[in-house]
Symmetry: C2
Subunit: 457 residues, 2 copies
Amino acid sequence: MSQKPSLPKGTRDFTPKVVFQRNYIIQTIQKVFQKYGFDPIETPALENLSVLTGKYGDEGDQLLFKVLNSGDFLNKTAPEDYAAGSAHLTGKISEKGLRYDLTVPFARFVAMNRNEINFPFKRYQIQPVWRADRPQKGRYREFYQCDADVVGTHSLLCEAELIAMAQEVYDGLSFRDYQVSLSNRKILEGIALACGASDQFNAFCVTLDKIDKIGRERVFEELIKIGLKESDLQTLSDILHIEGDHHDKLNQLRPFVMDSTQGKVGIEEVENTLNYLKSLDVSTEKIVLDFTLARGLTYYTGIIYEIKPTTLQMGTITAGGRYDNLTGVFGLPDVSGVGISFGIDRIYDTLNELNLFPKQLKVENHVLITNFDATTENHALHVLSVLRNEGITAELYPEAAKLKKQLSFAHRKNIPYVLMVGTEEMKSKEYSLKHMETGEQQRLSVDQLVKLLLAMN
Amino acid sequence: MSQKPSLPKGTRDFTPKVVFQRNYIIQTIQKVFQKYGFDPIETPALENLSVLTGKYGDEGDQLLFKVLNSGDFLNKTAPEDYAAGSAHLTGKISEKGLRYDLTVPFARFVAMNRNEINFPFKRYQIQPVWRADRPQKGRYREFYQCDADVVGTHSLLCEAELIAMAQEVYDGLSFRDYQVSLSNRKILEGIALACGASDQFNAFCVTLDKIDKIGRERVFEELIKIGLKESDLQTLSDILHIEGDHHDKLNQLRPFVMDSTQGKVGIEEVENTLNYLKSLDVSTEKIVLDFTLARGLTYYTGIIYEIKPTTLQMGTITAGGRYDNLTGVFGLPDVSGVGISFGIDRIYDTLNELNLFPKQLKVENHVLITNFDATTENHALHVLSVLRNEGITAELYPEAAKLKKQLSFAHRKNIPYVLMVGTEEMKSKEYSLKHMETGEQQRLSVDQLVKLLLAMN
């Protein structure tokens, strides 16, 4: 009895072509992480629900994938538990859930391994996460996150390095049409104070954050609804009109937040981050100070930044910020950290749309050897073993077949070279090497072949 | 409110040191896979239970981790469903499960992507799997599998290449104390016929497979219980006493299975596999023909092999075989395949016990630059940017601290070099580079430093 197989909604298979492209992105990021001294860790996909629940807000709790206890999972339940409904029953039949992000597991990791960890701890982590979100274009239920964080120091050098790393990653991917929006959560507090909105700080920020989407006018209407006065809106309008280079902008902002200790610290932190970048000889050209930036309000406490493509409608492809109390909930207070997260799927879509993936992501000197019959096969096996002993990626077509079929196989597999081993070649010990892209063919002895292919990689 | 965090039973965190060691194993395997022309695929961790259930036997079904449907998962159930018990209710509240191995998802992948796949398809896949097994030493609920398979050809070249790959992997890991046991499922059929056990083929094999554990005598007692006669046991005993080199062994076995077409084909397939290895110039020294080998009875149909360390009590670290009907259950008949699977955790334990991990798994020229105060920090940042621009892995200690603390940090992080940048060095522009392992120190200009470090990698 056979069945028609299917995939769960929001999940994907990756074919070799896509894996090579995704690995190109991941390895580029990984190389930069390592170059800056970040070390990898891994945490399990399965976490106890006690670790995950309550960390992502009510909506996040809804979106956690929960795993049924194994065995007779009903044995600790009673009909009343069933009658009490899904939410109640979950607590009785499920103890584990799937990783929802990499931050909470990292916080748990730090709390549990505090005695072994070498602080300041620079870690990176590249693993899948799961969210029971409604699947839609570009949003999946299983997707990779790619994070780097430094915990255990307040140094703004970390903020500067994370931004430098992002720029180095995009350089490595030959992608340059992006903007880095930079601000500080503390500046928002200063602005809220200046606009008489300190009491409704969250509502103020959430509304302000919508400027790009709904426009300034409608944002101002909403702000009046939450209690801002005309004079507050005038102040806000003045702040929004600040223009100039980074230095100018910060100088113009300063008088607006002079009554806010937090606001002044925020400006100083942005300034110091920019100074670190300068000392590191890293360009700040792509950085735009955006004082209305309000991402991650519930956890970020200092510098915040996000990166978006400028020539594509794509949303944020990289973002991060500083949080002052990562591990407090797990019993380890006063651990400050700052992080960055790369969105692999959106970066993939960006490179794809802009045609920025290199054509050949496999090795350049991969060879397919033809197989016509038992006699030539046996000869071809010797050639194959010579190539492999030299470390060259080579394979023999596993059964006798027509040349056309084998060439088509090589073409579809994106193998750049085909080596013809027929009766004539066997005798002359000179083999025809066909370059698949150009169609060019040359006759070579095994020694010449090895030399040519080794020179290529 | 803080909580004491914990990990689910049978799951693990991996610290940087362990990740580097595991990646050393995985990358060694991956490099060999790619060198032999295998391409990577990835499948989701979440699979529909309709795909997973019934593929691993009753015990396997029990060990599947099942994921609760999201939202109000009880809304399609009635109190009777609750009353009917866990097994029944599962079907109503859970549609998805976690990947249990890589073979079934691969079969699903092949069936679903049959039109895009370039057959013969050589794929590898390295991903975690989950089993609700009782955790014990060396057995986890979440662990990695590392598989390579060729589907769409009957060529025994594939079998030979998989064995060659395994040997190349262990060469790459500098591990050489292992044995490759090789046989063919069809030979077992021939032996069963010779011993009058064809009717109880499965029981016969399962019993025979216990020889290593319980000894020949007890196995014979059990075989009598399932109906073998004294003369059958004599035949079996004669077969078990076959000795000599590969050629001798096969020649001595041949008369015993002359009445079995399958048995004769099995012998021929083993012979051809060995011949392919010889033509590939691959040593067959570590290969032992073991006609009682009975692994994977329910799915393997041809060549079977397994690799075990010879100097450690470790069990199988690599195994595989040919199966003739991988994708039939998913509506794609007649796809023959052959595969290999590496057990990362056991390989890890093996290398660990034998002290075979290289000491330095990070780059050799990683430098930590000291940070003593704001002035030297600013100078150090320039040195840092020069090193990084040359592609050298370098980091600045992120805040001012005592030298001792910074050296200890470098030591614990396994950073091989520390570059001292103090007031004096700032003036002379000659910096002291300390080699952490030897304690040696040398004074160098930035140019000399770059040259030295670049020459190292």
